[in-house]
Symmetry: C2
Subunit: 333 residues, 2 copies
């Protein structure tokens, strides 16, 4: 059992994803003492599922993490949760979560978990929580104005303005994947249709199915599930696969233009880029985005001071962000 | 001389445009007691002009308004100024103003005016000031989260978040006319290249020059300067000119997509649309924008509560916004 410094507050951070639930017990300086993980859907799930099926699995995951740390609920000051949908942080209600069976019409996650765990629980949208994690413990420490862009299955976004998460009038801010590519005569298209790992995988799958990319075929055939993961994309780029290079270049250009538009409209101090694809490709993904974005910044004054940074916490952004949320919202209680 | 209610604070609001300077003396509840106006460039301007030529004209305009109100500088609590460029509100420095000779590299407008008038002077960007006017005295009263879009020579923007103007890390927030239309394979294009009165006028001028629009020709030929003003556009629409209808429809669609993108990213409570073209065309300009924008809002929760409003102050937004700025920044001094 790890030792904690005397009297330091302990928190549980929970990250609810479409495929897995992660929980961690951590100190207020972001040191993780124990972790636990469960699949979001139970193996024997029988559909349709009611809205409360998930609560039990979240509680189990949190308890498993506490147990590994040798702690009971009494030792935990507060629990933070990142949920995959817009969330009313005052009531702890997830307003909708399209990827979670039974939660489409919302779920009172905060109160339900709080009662089950007997610990105060604070819930926010997972992308807000991820950026908060980077802000408190990661790449965005000390920056009061940051836009986070997370390139994964979709394109997620969040922003911290004047040191505070911008949650929006309807708790819906940050849906940057659903800002539009538009050109006169074209139907507006969600930017995540080209600027996400999911979109790139779909494009490449279609090219594979046409037998048009032997390099990519050789790489993907090493996986029994033939999934085009961020790792497959990285190896295909390294091997010089032209279709992968084109898809990535298109995503980079769209993200660069998006960053410039946001810079011109919102004028933040920094952008933090994260998500599975960015973590996998690293600086080779970011460099062309920087190169294309900065010349499109309209006001040139102090343009060099605007930062474009890689996220630092990787997979831990969710649980550490949830810890940061619990720290921030339980303050003064 | 108008009577003011006893002991009410008086302010001067100044709106510096590329063609004219407006000044007004007003009460803290937005009642205008007197106005004055001067052309921005003197008739006998000899170029190149140094950075201080404009100060004198601004001072003259402010003094003319005070004189009309029968007041001296002693009666004025503070002066607010809207300047056509990004402005550091702490120092009163206009960082750049591309449309004003001599100001391209910035100008210490606040300190200079303050010394000349012997009154505290507060300066901000003109679009910020216009939205502040709508917030304090106009269409956006009582709303804590508002994005302003002003369709004129260009497309200007500003935003109030949590009741405060978002000025940006480099004092450059709101340059919404320089957010980008983008489509894979196309060069990114400033949205104001199609969504502004200026852009529409240029398109229509080119069509006129090709002799391709007899309806528009009949209308524009009634003006000795043949300028395609917002009024000309209104009459051409009413007369059913197809080229004008197309240009307006294109601007409306681009603005609708922009509003939806901003709604999805920033999730504000309301949008206020103003500027010469919106004032001239009114609800007939806004209705198709509403119709196209709302279906593109990604989160449907409480979508009906998000408002899309016409600005209410017209030409007075600038001077009244400057008064609101002076009120807000002189508070507690």
């Amino acid at each position: 059992m790890p030792q904690t410094s005397q009297k330091q507050s302990l928190f549980v951070g929970i990250d609810i994803g479409g495929t897995k639930i992660l929980a961690a017990v951590a100190t207020s300086d972001g040191r993780i003492l124990a972790r636990a993980k469960k699949k979001t859907l139970p193996k024997d799930a029988s559909f349709p599922l009611g809205p409360s099926w998930l609560t039990e699995r979240i509680v189990e995951t949190a308890k498993a993490a506490m147990q590994k740390a040798g702690l009971t609920a009494k030792a935990i000051r507060a629990v933070g949760v990142g949920a995959p949908g817009p969330t009313d942080i005052h009531s702890g209600r997830v307003l909708t979560a399209v990827n979670l069976p039974g939660w489409q019409d919302g779920f009172d996650l905060g109160p339900t978990l709080s009662e089950a765990l007997n610990i105060p629980v604070y819930v926010d949208n997972d992308v807000n929580v991820g950026l908060l994690g980077e802000h408190v413990f990661g790449a965005a420490q000390g920056l009061s104005d940051v836009v986070g862009l997370f390139v994964g299955t979709g394109l997620g976004g969040a922003m911290i303005l004047n040191g505070q998460l911008r949650r929006g009038f309807r708790w819906s801010a940050g849906e940057v994947g659903h800002t539009y590519l538009y050109w006169p005569g074209q139907q507006p298209m969600d930017i995540e249709k080209i600027a996400s790992r999911g979109a790139i995988s779909r494009q490449l799958t279609s090219i594979l199915n046409q037998g048009e990319s032997p390099i990519l075929e050789a790489i993907v055939s090493q996986r029994s599930d033939r999934r085009i993961t961020s790792g497959v994309i990285r190896r295909a780029l390294a091997a010089g696969d032209p279709a992968t290079q084109r898809a990535i270049a298109q995503a980079q250009e769209a993200i660069a233009v998006l960053i410039a538009s946001i810079a011109n409209f919102l004028d933040p101090q920094a952008f933090v880029l994260g998500g599975g694809l960015v973590e996998s490709l690293g600086e080779s993904f970011l460099a062309p985005i920087r190169e294309q974005a900065y010349p499109l910044f309209f006001v040139r004054h102090r343009v060099d001071e605007v930062q474009l940074l890689p996220a630092a916490l990787g997979d831990d952004a969710g649980v550490l962000g949830a810890v940061a949320l619990a720290m921030s919202l339980s303050r003064g209680r």
